[in-house]
């Protein structure tokens, strides 16, 4: 094993003189007072390795000993990942003693003594390739398949396989050999380097089905597809995190991986606190059962931020390989980019825009590229749907992280400061935001079949009414209430109706926080119906008075359970109010 000695220290960047061969991105350990501090090689020059320490460099000295592992940064993949809370390097946070994390503390990701009910899926003699299933265990509500490790090349024959039964994770459940006569023992756990995509699938498909988030402004107006990508940029205080948490709660994915990257600890604590209680709408079990949290909050080691998003993505790809629907959420990708910037700066690399490293766009593109819906060799399909938040400096979208992301993510949810200031939540600007999937023929066909035939036209009609309303508002504020035709007021209030009744949604209300597609289509039809009905008014104040009443009724409906008595009551009040007005007209 190669060893070395520290020659220079600048914050968490170390230079290490080495005595043998090392690899780029190899993990090494610095010995400090009995502890081993983990670091990753990020540059090699002659016999000097540049390593970024996943800790603060405080207390280190020139001459301190370093030993190299020969391995890249890898994660453990196997049953038991769900419901766990990991740090950015896949240490199990629950397994750490005490209230504080001590420097260099490491805990195994999976408890290798934990027992799982193993069922073999193949018999001796079966020929497998990497990623092919040979066994299966139940993990919470999920079928967790045990696959031939992704690292295996070529064809392997099963020579022995354990009968159905309870085994600890470390138990050898199968033995395989290849054509060259090499044999290998297999447990239920395998390892994989996080920076490499898991690519054992047959093909990647074009996303077609809607990925339901329960949020009207997303599902109806700018939907994200299963296996799709989206990003949410927004200045602070515009509700990025609340939005992402709402999606984490309301989705119908089978596995959710949440990466808290360089953000507030208390936000993760809220998830720790609520997910064991909240019900998963897809299965009726608890949300915690299908959720894995990777948590590298802003006061945890900066260098581990980059690792945290890759750790999350690798686990997501692992579950996708079993044919599951996985949602990966990362908050926030900007913090990861900032970590890259800090290191690039310490390495004295020539900077790109805003001092970010020049390869930033490529790094982001490769990462988003790992999402997608795939078909496995056995015909099952799995997906990783990825939503990342971006925290643009000064709330200005013309900055490198937002721009690089916009080139690769297919949906864009613009959080508007103006809407947030006016407490119009979710503060997603319905017109500035977009979903490329609306243009996909596959997606249009899906919507026509599963929502309603003219759905996309209706969505576009709502958007047209919104933009007409904005024009009308601008005219009114330039010319004054009295100096514009009454039509302008009507157009403006129609857009307000769509905004208040449909776009705005209360994520803190148990009923309103999650709207089914069926309910969304009912509400959108109702709103459009009212907008289409010709109405006459005496003057502009009559317009606002009328629409305020309508909006109030819609809000009461949104707060009531779909098709409940209350809901029907407000609905018929709405019809009454509405007919009254049209009779007078």
């Amino acid at each position: 094993m190669t060893k070395g000695k520290i020659t220079a220290i600048l914050s968490n960047l170390l230079q290490v003189e080495v005595d043998g061969p090392i690899r780029q991105n190899e993990i090494c350990y610095v010995l400090k007072a009995g502890e081993e501090l983990m670091a990753e090689v990020i540059k090699i020059n002659g016999n000097i390795a540049f390593a970024q320490l996943f800790e603060a460099g405080s207390g280190l000295k020139a001459g301190d000993q370093v030993h190299f592992s020969g391995e890249l940064l890898e994660v453990s993949l196997g049953p038991g990942l769900l419901s766990k809370n990991f740090d950015g390097l896949q240490n199990d946070l629950e397994a750490m003693p005490g209230s504080f994390i001590q420097a260099g503390q490491r805990t195994p990701a999976l408890d290798l003594d934990e027992e799982y009910e193993f069922t073999p899926l193949v018999k001796p003699g079966a020929i497998l390739e990497a990623g092919d299933a040979f066994g299966e265990v139940p993990e919470n509500a999920l079928k967790h398949t045990i696959m031939l490790p992704f690292k295996f090349e070529g064809k392997w024959e099963i020579t022995e396989i354990a009968p159905a039964g309870k085994y600890p994770l470390k138990h050898i459940v199968a033995k395989v050999k290849n054509e060259n006569g090499e044999s290998q023992d297999l447990s239920m756990v395998q390892k994989w380097p996080v920076k490499w995509p898991i690519k054992n699938y047959l093909r990647k498909e074009r996303p077609a089905e809607i990925f339901r988030t329960g949020l009207r402004v997303i599902d109806s107006l700018n939907p994200i597809a299963e296996g799709g990508t989206a990003y949410i940029p927004g200045a602070f205080g515009t509700g990025k995190t609340v939005l992402q948490q709402a999606i984490a709660k309301n989705n119908r994915a089978e596995v959710v991986i949440l990466v808290a990257c360089g953000e507030r600890a208390n936000e993760v604590v809220e998830i720790f606190h609520s997910f064991p209680e909240l019900e998963d709408l897809a299965t009726g079990r608890k949300l915690k059962d299908k959720t894995t949290i990777v948590c590298n909050t802003s006061n945890m080691p900066v260098a581990a931020r980059e690792a945290s998003v890759y750790v999350g993505m690798t686990m997501a790809e692992y579950y996708r390989s079993m044919g599951h629907k996985v949602l990966l959420l990362a908050d926030s990708t900007s913090r990861w980019a900032q970590a890259l910037r800090e290191m690039s700066n310490r390495m004295e690399e020539l900077p790109g825009t805003d001092a970010f490293p020049v390869e930033l766009p490529a790094v982001i593109a490769n990462f988003y590229g790992r999402a997608g819906k795939v078909e496995m060799r056995n015909g099952t399909k799995g997906s990783v749907t990825f939503l990342g938040t971006v925290s643009p400096a000064g709330g200005n979208f013309k900055e490198p992280v937002t721009e690089s992301t916009s080139k690769v993510a297919r949906c864009f949810y613009a959080l508007s400061q103006k809407r947030a200031d006016a407490k119009r939540y979710p503060a997603i600007d319905p017109l500035q935001s977009y979903s490329r999937y609306l243009d996909y023929e596959e997606f249009q066909a899906f919507a026509a079949e599963h929502i309603e035939s003219a759905w996309i036209e209706k969505v576009n009609r709502a958007k047209n009414l919104l933009s007409k309303g904005i024009e009308a508002r601008d005219q009114i504020s330039i010319l004054g209430d009295d100096s514009v035709p009454l039509d302008y007021h009507r157009d403006f209030w129609k857009s307000e109706l769509i905004d208040f009744a449909f776009i705005q949604q209360d994520s803190f209300d148990d009923t309103d926080m999650n709207s089914s597609l069926e309910r969304q289509s009912f509400m959108l039809n109702r709103v459009l119906e009212i907008c289409d009905k010709p109405q006459e008014f005496e003057d502009f104040s009559a317009v606002s008075a009328f629409y305020k009443k309508v909006i109030n009724l819609f809000k009461q409906m949104n707060y009531s359970d779909f098709e409940s008595d209350d809901f029907q009551k407000f609905n018929s009040e709405l019809e009454a109010l509405f007919n009254l007005q049209s009779i007078e007209a």
Partner: protein, 442 residues
């Protein structure tokens, strides 16, 4: 600060900048403290034998033969209950003429709280100010700054909030504050009889700016000691974080680092987060709540300092002068408390969330009416009403001078709404209107 026996003394300085010196030395630790002709300095780079130090009070007058002695450890603090009621400078040296505090010696950087061992902050921290308790409710374990232009009385309000909020311990970190404000804090603490529960670490504008870099770590270490070991409810006051960040920029500049936005170091986010994330609710009942001050340049919150702060803290309290009434208020639009959801309508009355939102929405209508008026348009009847409402809302609720309970704030809110509006203009849940609307009650 004198060399111990057999400790090597170096006296060949190879390079000097305004803030740093470089010399050859052996066995030096990263982050270690040292003394250069008696001035405190810290190791900020090790390159083989070559060591760079940042000299906190500046290098003015230092000779190339200045004597350098290394302490063998990173900055530390002596922790003990005896810190209470005392005033210290940025090196932890008493400012009050009394003896040094004896106690357990600990590295000021401290360890990170394991997030799974944190408790969800959900204990209300009342201040009697409606701009906070009603609109931006605080909880223990939260971190939140006041955003204020330099002409706002932010330190006075900070002192007021500290005196009113229920806490076992207050730790004040003054960074570049004026000597006058320092005396104001001291006077305010003593006159309220709370002098004994306060620990202060003070760097005034008269002290060298780099020294203030040490203040937050001292403050947080002391706070963590009282919160974790003594299970106390600790309130930390940090003012002014903008001046702290300015000091960070000076060091990074002298280290030839490439600046990012607004000449700030690229690590500004992480540097600030390390401090603010010390806010915590421990499982044992102790907590650290941080209320800070970030001064703005002409209200510009897109500047790197307030911008990064906003991404780290759990909201912000925006101080401003209301142009109509001349009163100081906490701006209902741009202020936010992210943790209020953990308590409003749960620890406070059920109508709290909806009343709060309705009042702010109506206030927004007033502000639209005002801009209409300024542009010379006629106001309609609703506009007139909302303007009258806004003034009453400012005088009867928003004024930071008021000191009222949360229930009274809600009752005042309902009375204000019923005085100026119809119930259907509010968008409030019908069952709450039935219960609280003043007319329906009578």
């Amino acid at each position: 600060m004198i060399a111990k026996a057999f400790q090597p003394i170096y006296s060949r300085i190879k390079a000097l900048t305004k803030a740093t010196i470089t010399l050859d030395a052996d066995g030096v630790q990263y982050d270690e403290l040292a003394w250069v002709d008696g001035r405190t300095a810290q190791v900020i780079k090790v390159d083989g034998k070559e060591v760079s130090l940042q000299v906190f009070s500046g290098t003015e007058g230092l000779g190339t033969n200045a004597q350098v002695v290394f302490s063998g450890s990173a900055p530390n603090i002596h922790l003990s209950p005896l810190l209470a009621g005392r005033y210290f400078n940025a090196f932890g040296v008493p400012l009050d003429g009394k003896d040094k505090v004896q106690g357990e010696e600990r590295d000021v950087k401290g360890a990170t709280v394991n997030p799974v061992r944190r408790q969800l902050p959900s204990e209300l921290l009342a201040t009697g100010i409606a701009g906070i308790d009603l609109n931006n409710t605080l909880v223990t374990g939260q971190k939140i700054p006041f955003f204020a232009d330099p002409d706002q009385p932010y330190n006075r309000i900070l002192a007021e909030v500290a005196m009113r909020a229920d806490s076992d311990r207050i730790v004040l970190g003054g960074m570049g504050i004026s000597h006058d404000d320092f005396l104001m804090f001291q006077q305010r603490f003593n006159s309220s009889g709370a002098g004994d529960k306060i620990v202060s670490f003070i760097n005034t504008s008269e002290d060298p700016p780099l020294e203030r870099l040490l203040i937050p770590d001292l403050v947080c270490s002391a706070a963590e000691y009282f919160a974790f070991e003594k299970q106390e409810k600790v309130l930390v006051l940090l003012t002014d974080m903008t001046l702290y960040a300015d000091a960070l920029a000076i060091v990074s500049n002298k280290m030839d680092q490439i600046p990012s936005k607004d000449a700030m170091p690229g690590s500004l986010y992480s540097d600030l987060a390390r401090i603010y994330e010390k806010a915590v609710q421990f499982q044992n009942g102790g907590s650290i709540t941080i209320i800070a001050v970030t001064t703005l340049n002409d209200g510009d919150i897109t500047h790197a300092i307030p911008d990064n702060t906003g991404y780290i803290t759990e909201g912000q309290l925006y101080l401003k002068k209301d142009p109509e009434t001349g009163l100081t208020i906490i701006d209902p639009f741009r202020s936010l408390s992210r943790l209020k959801q953990n308590v409003i309508g749960i620890k406070t009355r059920e109508d709290h969330p909806q009343v709060m939102n309705a009042l702010v929405r109506l206030y927004a209508d007033a502000s639209e009416a005002r801009s209409k008026k300024e542009n010379g348009f006629d106001l309609n009847e609703y506009d007139e009403r909302s303007l009258r409402f806004a003034e009453a809302y400012t005088r009867e609720l928003l004024d930071v001078q008021l000191n009222i309970g949360t229930e009274e704030m809600l009752d005042r809110g309902w009375r204000l709404m019923s005085r100026f509006f119809k119930d259907y203009e509010l968008g409030i849940r019908q069952n709450l209107i039935d219960k609280y609307w003043p007319e329906a009650k009578s």
